[in-house]
């Protein structure tokens, strides 16, 4: 997971890191999912931080 900023705001360094990561495509809104087997027709995708 890439760093996210606290709701109350971050330091200039933290903000710079987050913005630069986002500009380079380093975001947390992606992942991989492997389909269930045994002839399953559905697979559930969960948020990675659901726990």
């Amino acid at each position: 997971m890439f760093r996210v900023l606290p709701y109350q705001g971050g330091t200039p360094r933290e903000i710079s890191e987050v913005v630069n990561n986002a500009m380079n495509g380093k975001t947390n809104n992606h992942g991989t999912i492997t389909l269930n087997t045994s002839w399953a027709t559905t697979t559930t995708l969960y948020d990675e931080n659901r726990f």
Partner: protein, 216 residues
């Protein structure tokens, strides 16, 4: 939480198996000869050997039935190794069934010349393909009738003389979905906060992995 009710989820193949084996297909044959029960009686062709399988199955009871796990339009083709053991010209009419019901306009007639000599039948490959619209767990059959029970489906073992060749199945049937693919068959069918249901073709391939991006 990232997945919401209004999120858009983009899904892309992320492994070789996800890219190559997504479309349902199958091949099945018979390793035995088959004869019609009597002239003027409809019979069904039987199969006993699945050789390619990505979404077909048999029920273990009815050897004539080939089931599909996924709905879709399928290109279905049979190849019958027909022989005529009689001393007259004969024919075989062959057609498709879905769930036991004849498919309209699916029949073909294959004419066979008289046998070459006693114990040396005439041979003919009867082949035909058709598009069939099937629901998940529908079954198809190949049905037929013959003008004489001397018209048979012939099986022959592998030979080494006069040249090396594989066995001749009495029938080969292939089918493959003609719609859908590694991209279009995988989609979000439901979603809620924190999770989404991904619907796809019936899968039994390991490591079929997709990448996803969530927007919104």
């Amino acid at each position: 939480m990232r997945i919401g009710f209004d999120s858009k989820i983009i899904i892309l193949p992320d492994s070789a198996s996800a890219q190559t084996s997504a479309i349902p297909y199958g091949e099945i044959n018979s390793t035995t000869g088959q004869t019609a029960p009597s002239t003027g009686t409809t019979a069904v062709v039987e199969f006993d050997n699945i050789t390619q399988n990505n979404g077909i199955y048999q029920d273990g009871t009815n050897d004539s039935r080939i089931y599909v796990r996924d709905a879709g339009v399928y290109n279905v083709m049979y190849s019958l190794q027909l022989i005529n053991t009689t001393n007259d010209g004969q024919y075989a009419d062959v057609w498709f069934r879905i769930n036991g019901t004849d498919v309209a306009d699916s029949a073909s007639r294959f004419g066979l010349p008289a046998r070459k000599s006693s114990g040396d039948p005439s041979e003919l490959i009867g082949a035909m393909n058709i598009f069939l619209t099937l629901d998940a767990d529908d079954y198809i059959e190949v049905a037929g009738g013959v003008s004489d029970v001397g018209v048979e489906l012939w099986y022959d073992t592998a030979k080494t003389t006069p040249f090396v060749r594989p066995a001749i199945p009495s029938v080969i049937l292939t089918l493959n979905a003609v719609s859908g693919g590694s991209l279009s068959n995988v989609y979000v069918s439901a979603q809620q906060k924190g999770q989404a249901t991904i619907t796809h073709f019936a899968n039994n391939t390991s490591n079929k992995t997709y990448g996803y991006v969530i927007i919104g």
